[in-house]
């Protein structure tokens, strides 16, 4: 989702990646309210194109600003970038102010007028900079002498003098710019935030993502939730993606069902949506009500780490144990969401079932918003069981439905057959299971 954000500048991307995910309700609500202010602009193709081409020029000049603040010498390139930032702010303000529906979004660059006057002594208003003649009559006179000088040695010596004079003027300019540094930093950040908000609004509109309700009950629920990446891949191949409805957070939810039934995708998408809300981005669902969480764990796949001497089982156990330990320490474990994909899958089914059942019980007691997938038969005493609908007429139905107590679905052989696995193998397996 971050990769597909149509950000204009690399700085905005770095700014976004350095941002901490929001966890409190008010900030999240405010962040979505701010996003909605940008939607009319994001829907205006001409204005977006203008803003995008301007914001492409936004750069991170924090180091130069630090140096100006610390009274260190800066060069023409750095001063050019300071001037370019102010002019960029003004141009963006002018584009946004041109339309009444976006005028309120225009950055205020009024406090930087004095800094601009320093960097643009001739009032040209263009993104260009050098130590202009108008900074000093002495400099202008010296340059005139250089122009007229025909002797190369004397010219070189005059050029050296000119460099010294330029350096003095540069120092003076830096002194004049110092008071404006906080406003320059603010403008740089504000422009990065505008780039991010425009990109988020544009992505939400083009992807048809929803703005979530921020749930206060601790329950997260989705109608028509989909994985945007997978949906795109499936639709490109001419297929149809099946969105799912899901609710969790009020006691552990255990998803059982056939292999290739999309259990892991549900888990991944639920984790993705939780993080997207933390960054105030559109949610890939028809409707969503999401409870904010302080910690989101997503534990999936083969976590084998040979370098650390951990087998896949050991690595997975340690990762899950972190959830167990952290949830024991915090005051409100309901602020933790854990999405765990087929825990203890790599051990024997008897101990595996016991480990998973115990995990569901412990995290359930503490109120952790647990969403877990498994092939083990976990009784519904302490959890809500959901099942992937499974194979129907030779096709997979990915929707989730309540699964009352009872054995887990036995669909591995049917799925294997649908994958055209060698009949010799599946046939013999069937005989062993006395299916035939």
């Amino acid at each position: 989702m971050i990769e597909s954000l149509p950000l204009a500048s690399g700085y905005a991307l770095r700014y976004l990646l350095d941002t901490v995910a929001l966890t409190d309700r008010d900030s999240i609500v405010a962040s979505y309210a701010e996003l909605s202010r940008y939607e009319s602009v994001a829907g205006d193709r001409n204005m977006m194109s203008m803003l995008h081409s301007l914001l492409c020029n936004l750069k991170d000049i924090s180091h130069s600003l630090d140096r100006i603040e610390a009274s260190q010498a800066v060069d023409d390139i750095e001063l050019f970038e300071v001037k370019a930032l102010i002019l960029l702010g003004r141009r963006i303000a002018s584009v946004l102010s041109a339309d009444s529906k976006s005028a309120a979004l225009a950055p205020d660059t009024g406090s930087l007028q004095e800094a601009l006057n320093v960097l643009d002594p001739d009032g040209n208003g263009i993104s260009a900079f050098y130590i202009y003649d108008s900074y000093s009559p002495d400099l202008a006179a010296l340059r005139l002498r250089i122009r007229r000088e025909t002797d190369q040695d004397r010219r070189a010596s005059l050029m050296d003098e000119e460099q010294v004079l330029e350096a003095e003027i540069r120092e003076r300019i830096c002194g004049s710019l110092r008071p404006a540094v906080p406003a320059l930093r603010k403008l740089q950040e504000e422009l990065a935030q505008k780039d991010i908000n425009l990109a988020k609004a544009s992505q939400r509109l083009s992807g048809g993502y929803c703005i979530p309700q921020v749930s206060t009950s601790g329950i997260t629920s989705y109608n028509g939730m989909y994985n945007p990446y997978l949906k795109n891949v499936i639709e490109k191949e001419g297929g149809k993606y099946t969105p799912v409805d899901l609710s969790f957070g009020d006691g552990p939810v255990v998803i059982i069902g056939a292999n290739m039934g999309g259990k892991t995708v549900v888990l991944k998408t639920a984790a993705l949506c939780q993080w997207l809300m933390g960054f105030g981005m559109g949610i890939p669902a028809e409707k969503a009500s999401i409870a904010p969480r302080d910690e989101v764990f997503f534990i999936s796949g083969d976590a084998q780490d040979m370098g650390a001497g951990l087998s896949s089982f050991a690595a997975e156990m340690k990762a899950i144990d972190e959830v167990v330990r952290i949830s024991a320490k915090v005051d409100n474990a309901g602020r933790i969401a854990a999405m765990i994909d087929e825990p203890a899958r790599s051990t024997n089914p008897i101990e595996g079932t016991a480990l998973v059942e115990a995990l569901v019980d412990i995290l359930g007691r503490r109120g952790v918003a647990l969403l877990l997938t498994t092939h083990y038969n976990i009784p519904s005493g302490h959890c809500t069981r959901l099942r992937v609908m499974g194979m129907e007429d030779g096709k997979m139905n990915y929707r989730l439905c309540p699964a009352p107590d009872g054995d887990v679905p036995h669909e591995a052989l049917r799925v294997a057959e649908s994958l055209n696995i060698s009949p010799e193998w599946t046939g013999e397996a069937k005989k062993l299971l006395k299916y035939e």
Binding site: I77, F80, A128, F129, Y130, R143
Partner: protein, 318 residues
């Protein structure tokens, strides 16, 4: 003024040296000095290359370019800071080279600067797009030493070739190498750019074998055309019936001997993008002190390639 007025008919020209010390910088300075003051704004840069970076490491100096007031140039941050002229910065690229970002500036007070610009053909093309907003009428690219990538017709419309005694102190060898290079630059453009897929066969130099089916009319070379591939094509019985095509002359890495064998076997080679060769400049003096007779060198080479050849140092002295 030889060929300088011709340059002004193009939007981009590369000055390319066949070898170090072939007088490429002298040629570039000559052009810059003789561009009329009422000509459209020009912007100059150089393609940064590995060899030149090595020179940076070993401390060997790069040739300096003399720029007049009003000219634009693009160079790296490192070389911009070391400039011996007064200039107004108009652009700082987001792209970073080994020597820092690329700075584009307009000269306010004439002087010298070391040019080290974009380091690849792709970034060179990006740079040309980026400077399009400054009202530049002509961009001049200081081509790479011993490399011809900046002369890629994909980037520049025309080129000036610099050759000289540095390439060889043997006149026949110098003539042969230069004439062969000129012959490749002048290869004809393919008659039809896009042929139906079933009539083309795309091969690369790493292909183990080339099998030209009956309906194929053109063999497209993906990437470089090497001696090995050219010999394979020359050995095919269908060669006289087909056309071989490369993107542009900079993709050709074949020896004159193999080229002639290919032509004798009835081979025809075309390019998709052709660059115009405006002139050839020579430096009769080799770094080891050997010197050709300038007038004789210009005349012999000119007769061989049927194009004006200039010794710019002699032009300056005259």
């Amino acid at each position: 003024m030889p060929f300088v007025h011709e340059l002004l008919k193009y939007r981009s020209v590369a000055v390319v040296g066949m070898e170090k010390n072939c007088g490429k910088t002298e040629c570039l300075n000559y052009i810059l000095r003789h561009i009329p003051s009422d000509a459209p704004d020009i912007c100059v840069t150089s393609i940064g290359l590995d060899g030149e970076r090595t020179d940076q490491v070993t401390g060997t100096s790069k040739p300096e370019i003399i720029l007049r007031k009003g000219m634009f140039f693009t160079t790296s941050e490192t070389h911009y800071r070391a400039r011996h002229l007064v200039s107004e910065i108009v652009g700082v690229s987001g792209e970073t080279t080994a020597l820092g970002r690329l700075i584009t500036a307009k000269v306010a007070l004439e002087g010298k600067v070391i040019l080290s610009g974009p380091s690849s053909t792709v970034s060179l093309r990006r740079w040309m797009d980026s400077i399009s907003g400054y009202g530049i009428g002509l961009t001049i690219i200081d081509g790479a030493l011993s490399r011809k990538s900046s002369a890629s017709p994909a980037v520049s419309e025309a080129m000036v070739l610099a050759t000289g005694a540095a390439l060889s102190c043997s006149l026949p060898v110098l003539l042969e190498k230069t004439a062969f290079c000129v012959e490749m630059i002048r290869l004809p453009e393919v008659e039809v750019q896009d042929l139906p897929q079933e009539e083309t066969l795309t091969v690369s130099s790493i292909a183990q074998e080339v099998d030209i089916a009956a309906g194929v009319k053109r063999v497209e070379i993906a990437g470089a055309l090497t001696d090995r591939l050219l010999n394979r094509l020359a050995a095919d019985r269908r060669l006289p019936e087909i056309e071989v095509a490369v993107a542009d002359f900079t993709r050709i890495f074949v020896s004159p001997e193999n080229w002639r064998r290919f032509v004798r076997a009835g081979g025809r080679l075309g390019v998709h993008r052709k660059t115009t060769l405006l002139a050839v400049c020579v430096n009769p003096l080799a770094p080891n002190g050997y010197r050709f007779d300038s007038e004789m060198l210009c005349r012999t080479l000119s007769e061989r390639i049927q194009l004006p050849v200039y010794d710019l140092r002699r032009q300056n002295e005259a």
